[in-house]
């Protein structure tokens, strides 16, 4: 690209704090017309937050936003829309009960009369290169088609700046290529697109320009010609090498497996069809088996079946007890926010606990026990009587983990155990899981962050389209090999 014209969007010195987490530390970002701009960084680097600032969803603590001729300390979502900024989120933001056409009409303000609207939506989608049936109820669309709709909504609302948040995470490889084509066509006609991603190769393949964020700061800006993969990787990861914990945990290979599953089949939560089609695995005491999978491939059902939270339809499953389960959503599944910490500890406990006297609960004993747990797990809380809602996310997760691991489980199942936690809290959770394994538990953990799986696991299995598979090169499997398996499907 030669001498770029005036930028479409410029973010300068953006600062954002969430409590103790410093998400953005003076980040700068410039977007020129006609370019595909990759915003690269590890999970938690602040990529999404920075783009939400541009979309008006997050109000920065400091910094300026320049769009066109305007200069603002912050935008509202409405202003962002008027300046032609549209964001395609990782999660679907339409209304499932509406048809595709109705969702587009809601986003664009187009008149609702069905005939003309249908044609207009169909036309717009084809124009963009992402054909969609305007009459289909949105809830029935696949994840990929929902994303299509999000893009169509944004472009149809006259967006000139498209912010795409990890758009390839939910797509199959062929769909990824198609999406990149669409983005190129969009930028060729004068728009500009930001591709938020943590995948190096994707940035290299698609972007005209790359900005790398690390811990809320821009560490590298480069044009396509100047890019080299090693430099990018170093910029993203910084000086810290990825630690694999394999060596630190002693295997107890001679012991019988604590989890043994053969040909498990588990239904989808909606009740229709199979989420897990072929779930076979063994986990031995002392092992941490990491499950690598793209969202919605059956890993959730696998974990929940092992944890005894859903009944498999077919197959054999043997799990040694007691089982500890750390569910993904601590607010709605791990804890009851309105109840006290003691009550939340009692919630997850069985009948054999010392404070259970038949059907009676000795609350004093339970409270003493909870107080001990809070101390042992470094939970920052006013005391065992404090409601769970008064704790920070990291401390809430500590309570869940303390409750589950304090029962000396022989099996630990954890779903995204560090989602939404800062680095220190994440390290703490990892340490607890390793401790459990060292104490002889079989640990089965999934994280949607592949790097976390690689860091934590002694052995990695991939779940793709409902099938559990082991990488051919076993424990030596590389990130690329596992990534390819995740996306390939069986």
């Amino acid at each position: 690209m030669s001498a770029p014209p005036a930028p479409l969007l410029r973010l300068e010195g953006i600062e954002k704090r969430y409590g103790p987490v410093h998400a953005l530390r003076g980040a700068d970002f410039t977007l020129y017309p006609g370019e595909v701009h990759a915003l690269l960084g590890e999970n938690g680097a602040g990529k999404t937050t920075l783009m939400q600032v541009a979309d008006g969803l997050v109000r920065p603590d400091a910094g300026t936003i320049r769009v066109g001729d305007a200069e603002r300390p912050a935008l509202t979502p409405g202003e962002a829309r008027r300046f032609g900024i549209g964001m395609v989120h990782q999660h679907f933001t339409g209304i499932p009960a509406f048809t595709v056409a109705e969702n587009v009409a809601l986003a664009t303000g187009w008149p609702v009369s069905p005939g003309p609207l249908r044609e207009r939506v169909r036309h717009a989608a084809e124009q963009i290169g992402l054909p969609l049936d305007p009459d289909v109820r949105t809830g029935r669309l696949s994840v990929g088609l929902k994303q299509r709709l999000e893009i169509v909504k944004a472009v149809a609302a006259d967006a000139r700046i498209l912010l795409l948040d990890e758009p390839t995470a939910v797509l199959a490889p062929a769909e990824v290529a198609e999406l990149l084509d669409v983005i190129r066509r969009f930028t060729a006609s004068g728009g500009a697109a930001v591709l938020i991603t943590h995948k190096l190769d994707e940035a290299l393949a698609a972007a005209d320009r790359v900005t790398v964020l690390r811990r809320g700061k821009v560490v590298l800006r480069a044009l396509r010609g100047d890019l080299d993969p090693a430099g990018l990787a170093a910029a993203m990861i910084g000086g810290e090498p990825v630690v694999r914990s394999a060596a630190s945990i002693r295997q107890q290979a001679d012991e019988p497996a604590a989890i043994r599953a053969e040909a498990l089949e588990v239904a989808r939560e909606s009740g229709y069809g199979l989420a897990l089609r072929q779930g076979s695995l063994e986990v031995r005491p002392g092992e941490i088996v990491g499950i690598a999978a793209v969202e919605g491939n059956g890993q959730r059902e696998l974990l929940r079946a092992v944890a005894g939270r859903v009944l498999p339809l077919r197959g054999r499953l043997q799990v040694a007890g007691p089982v500890a389960f750390i569910p993904e959503d601590r607010i709605s599944e791990g804890l009851i926010p309105e109840l006290s910490l003691t009550e939340n500890v009692v919630l997850g406990s069985g009948r054999e606990e010392p404070w259970m006297r038949g059907g009676r609960i000795d609350w004093r004993a339970a409270e003493r026990y909870t107080a001990e747990l809070l101390r042992a797990y470094d939970v920052v809380a006013a005391g065992p009587r404090a409601p769970a809602s008064s704790l920070s996310g990291g401390n809430q997760q500590k309570v869940v983990i303390a409750r589950e691991l304090s029962r000396r489980p022989r099996v630990v199942v954890a779903e995204n155990p560090t989602r939404g936690l800062d680095l220190r809290a994440t390290a703490g959770v990892h340490a607890r899981l390793r401790e459990a394994a060292e104490a002889g538990a079989a640990v089965l953990v999934h994280s949607s962050d592949l790097d976390e799986v690689l860091e934590l696991a002694t052995r990695v299995l991939v779940v793709s389209r409902g099938v559990v598979a082991e990488p051919p090169s076993g424990e030596a499997a590389s990130r690329e090999e596992i990534g390819a398996m995740m996306l390939a499907g069986a």
Binding site: G78, R81, I95, P96, A97, F98, A105, L106, P111, S113
Partner: protein, 304 residues
């Protein structure tokens, strides 16, 4: 006309007459629920509308009664909306409270206005307005075209509400609010305002339904005279799958169930009348059981 034909025509006419207030209330509640608000207060709003209509009609004629009735229903809906939308109060309990309050208020006002003797039957009422020509259609002519004005209003309101809900931007925003307040807000909809307006529309319809009960059906007011019709209207909305066409059919079904009573009386069959009092409720429960698994309410219904 043969005897059977006359009987059928009479039955249909009674069914439509009984269905009219239910249909009006249910039409309003459809709008309210589509915006995500379930209003158990419409029972009270109907009752308030009924008494206000009786007072208005005896003071200045039946049409004034209708207007005053609508006003009373809307005023109570304003209280409901203030608590539910303004203060984010629980919808079910607020609705129960509004109905309780309306029972108390109407009891108080009624006793003061009419004494212990009651309103009597000397209320000016809305007479049937036969539509020339159409009235002569066999069977359905008398049922649909020889009725008091509110029936026509109810019949006309149905397609209008349908059109507004499904063919206008306002309707789209209203339905979006009922499905997901968060998403609707993100799309620029002022969801609080939408819910408040939808509640007021529901209240106005409930008031009109109450006025209809007094001025076009019973001819007088009595304490607690709505006898759960507001709650039945809510069930009708569920049965009608939150769609005006379905709601019209469900209301008619109800009217028919109640009108069976008159039919049986004409035929001289000796069935305890309480059976007919139970029939609509039992029928609703059966229909709900048969239907609910397959229908989906607005996703944000009842959420603050």
């Amino acid at each position: 006309m043969s005897g059977l034909e006359e009987l059928t025509a009479g039955f249909l006419a009674a069914a439509v007459r009984v269905a009219t207030p239910l249909l009006l209330a249910a039409t309003g509640e459809t709008v309210t629920e589509r915006a995500g608000v379930i209003n158990l207060g419409i029972e009270g709003m109907m009752l308030a509308g009924a008494l206000a209509a009786a007072l208005g009609a005896s003071a200045a004629g039946p049409w004034t009664g209708v207007l005053v009735g609508i006003g009373a229903g809307t005023a109570l809906a304003l209280v409901f909306a203030a608590v539910v939308v303004g203060a984010r109060g629980d919808q079910i309990i607020t609705g129960t409270a509004v109905t309780l309050g309306a029972v108390g208020l109407t009891g108080m006002v009624y006793r003061q206005a009419y004494g212990t003797a009651g309103a009597g039957l000397n209320l000016p009422t809305l007479a049937a307005l036969p539509v020339p020509g159409l009235r002569e259609i066999p069977l359905i002519g008398p049922a649909l075209f020889d009725q008091p004005a509110p029936t026509y209003i109810a019949i006309v309101a149905l397609p209008i509400v349908w059109w507004c809900l499904f063919r206008t931007r306002a309707g789209l925003m209203l339905r979006a609010t009922g499905e997901s307040q968060a998403m609707a807000r993100a799309a620029g909809v002022r969801t609080g305002l939408v819910r408040a307006v939808a509640t007021l529309i529901g209240g106005a319809f409930a008031g009109l339904a109450g006025a209809t009960l007094v001025l076009a059906q019973v001819g007088t007011f009595a304490e607690k005279m709505t006898a759960g019709r507001g709650f039945i209207a809510i069930a009708i909305v569920v049965l009608g799958r939150w769609h005006p066409a379905g709601v019209g059919l469900a209301a008619l079904l109800f009217g028919a169930a109640t009108a069976l009573q008159f039919l049986f009386q004409t035929l001289g069959w000796d069935v305890p009348y309480q059976l007919f009092l139970m029939l609509p409720y039992g029928l609703t429960l059966l229909a709900l059981a048969g239907l609910v698994g397959r229908v989906r309410p607005p996703a944000d219904l009842g959420r603050g």
